[in-house]
């Protein structure tokens, strides 16, 4: 199982003065502006922000799919120039290969490394067993539930023993109960592997529950608005989400994000509009007015 264990001290992600803009007919549009973040080796860091703030863009640049317009993206001091198996990625849309069985999906990265099929199979089976998926090894992904698909996605990304794991809203399309279980599985795996994780989400609870630190981004063009340390004990458990320190962190982050979400929604939404039905109807009922 040497492929799966990572050596401590590796996997430092540094994003410095990151700018990303793209050309349109109306001129360049800035998606991310002067953002700097870092993930220390073995640290779990989340980036949180309103939709469209460029948090996924930044993650894609760390993965090597995008080049920054200005600034640098490095992993262990090396400038990222393209995608590599050193940086495992988990996508929101699961992105399992439908033509491969669960085990073949997990084996894929090892196959690309040229590892023989016997070793590959053993490694994949061990990993699947750890996540309770061994009995589904010969199924095609189509037959699995969303939570199972994403467990396969995470295991597949970890199988090559990457230095860092990048997750792009991985639990975004799961139902609330499954999501909580998946978060627990992820923190458990992370604690055992001691791998650096960069996690992008718009879910505040998720970010607090999982992370050592949380970066909060502003609305487009995205910049880093705040950096929040999460001093909760490890290992984390679901019951902690009711604790007062969790709730304190939550309300702090909530107010930071709320401001930005309102900005991201544009001028049409303001605090007054959110008061909803407190409309003065001059004593009439709503049906009278309509």
């Amino acid at each position: 199982m040497s492929e799966v264990t990572t050596i401590g001290g590796k996997g430092k992600i540094e994003v410095t003065n990151f700018d990303l803009s793209y050309e349109t007919l109306d001129g360049p549009v800035e998606a991310v502006s002067d953002a700097s973040i870092c993930v220390n080796p073995g640290e779990f860091v989340s980036v949180i922000g309103p939709s469209g703030c460029g948090k996924s863009t930044m993650l894609n640049a760390v993965a090597g799919f995008l080049k920054p317009t200005r600034g640098r993206v490095t992993v262990d001091g090396e400038v990222v120039s393209g995608p590599s198996a050193d940086r495992g990625m988990v996508f929101q849309q699961y992105s399992l290969f439908p033509w491969k069985t669960v085990r073949e999906n997990v084996e894929f990265g090892l196959k690309m490394k040229g590892i023989d099929s016997y070793t590959r199979q053993n490694a994949a089976r061990t990993l699947l067993n750890l996540t309770g998926l061994l009995q589904f090894e010969n199924q095609y992904p189509e037959r699995l539930s969303g939570g199972m698909k994403q467990r396969v996605g995470i295991v597949r990304a970890l199988a090559t023993g990457p230095k860092v794991l990048l997750l792009d809203e991985p639990f975004g399309s799961l139902d609330a109960q499954t999501r909580i279980i998946m978060q627990q599985i992820l923190t458990n795996m992370w604690q055992h592997l001691k791998i650096s994780v960069l996690f992008v989400t718009h879910d505040i609870d998720e970010a607090i529950f999982l992370s050592d630190r949380v970066y909060c981004m502003t609305a487009r063009p995205g910049t880093i608005k705040a950096e929040i340390a999460i001093p909760l004990d490890r290992p984390r458990q679901q019951s902690m989400m009711m604790s007062s320190e969790f709730l304190n962190l939550r309300s702090g982050l909530m107010s930071l994000i709320r401001e930005e979400s309102l900005k991201a929604m544009g001028g049409e939404v303001n605090e007054a509009a959110l008061q909803g039905l407190n409309i003065n109807l001059n004593g009439q009922s709503l049906s009278d007015v309509i």
Partner: protein
Amino acid sequence: MERVVLKMTEEDTVEPVEFQAPQVNTPVGKPIPAQPVSLLILAGRWLSLHRAELRTFAIGAVSLCLFLLSWHLLTKYRVNVHVRFVNVPSPSLVFESFTKAMHDIKFFHHVTLSCRRILIGFSIAAVIAVPLGLIMGRFRFARDVIFPVSEIMRPIPAIAWVPMSIMLWPSNEESIVFITFLGSFFPILLNTLHGMATVDPVLVRASQCLGAKEFSIFREVYFPAALPNIFTGLTVGMGVAWVSLIAAEMISGQFGIGYFTWEAYSLVQYPDIALGMISIGVLGLASSATIRGLGRLIMPWSRG
């Protein structure tokens, strides 16, 4: 950038968790342990499970019988209402001619020759059109070069190629195979190209993150992702190949099931016309079914 530190107010004690995944909802339920059941109950269950299919089968059988019956009646009474059934052979005459043909080595010669032409023409088309479509789908430059030419050639029906084909190829046999090839080439090419266009870019990214390089991405992602469309192209191509082959055989052939059908008309062997037509239908159906079966074998993940 402002640094916010939100303080903890209370210490919570937590027990360490073992690295063990909870069992989440499993869609594949465990089968109920088998109990000894009588054959009658088993047959009953099978019937209720396959009711819809049985119904379809029964309706299909009745429909075919009705078709044969109306054919029989139309020819028996030599119906002549603008459309003339006077010379149309009856089903029984066609069956008679079928039994005769079963003992005739010449009929089999026609059939096997047609099948051979299909096999060669269609195979060459598949071997060229599938890789070409894959390359055109992957590399824009290749697409930009080849697409305009193929778009001009595509609408020309294979039958319009008959005179040109006779000029191009030294033997009759080669020109007929060439027309069969042309008929199946474009459906295969276009469907492969379409398959490449529908490949999910996230899957390509996922493979890159797992260390796949250009050739591996092609083999492990693009090709399997395009396979369902490739098989659609092969099925359509096979249909068009038969259309083109029969046309070519009728015009320039000396053998083959298309020639057999046309010759029957010239020789006033009317039952043989229907026999030729039905044979073509059965052969076309069988070859399409073969392709579909092959597709299911190669793509076990798609149950369609």
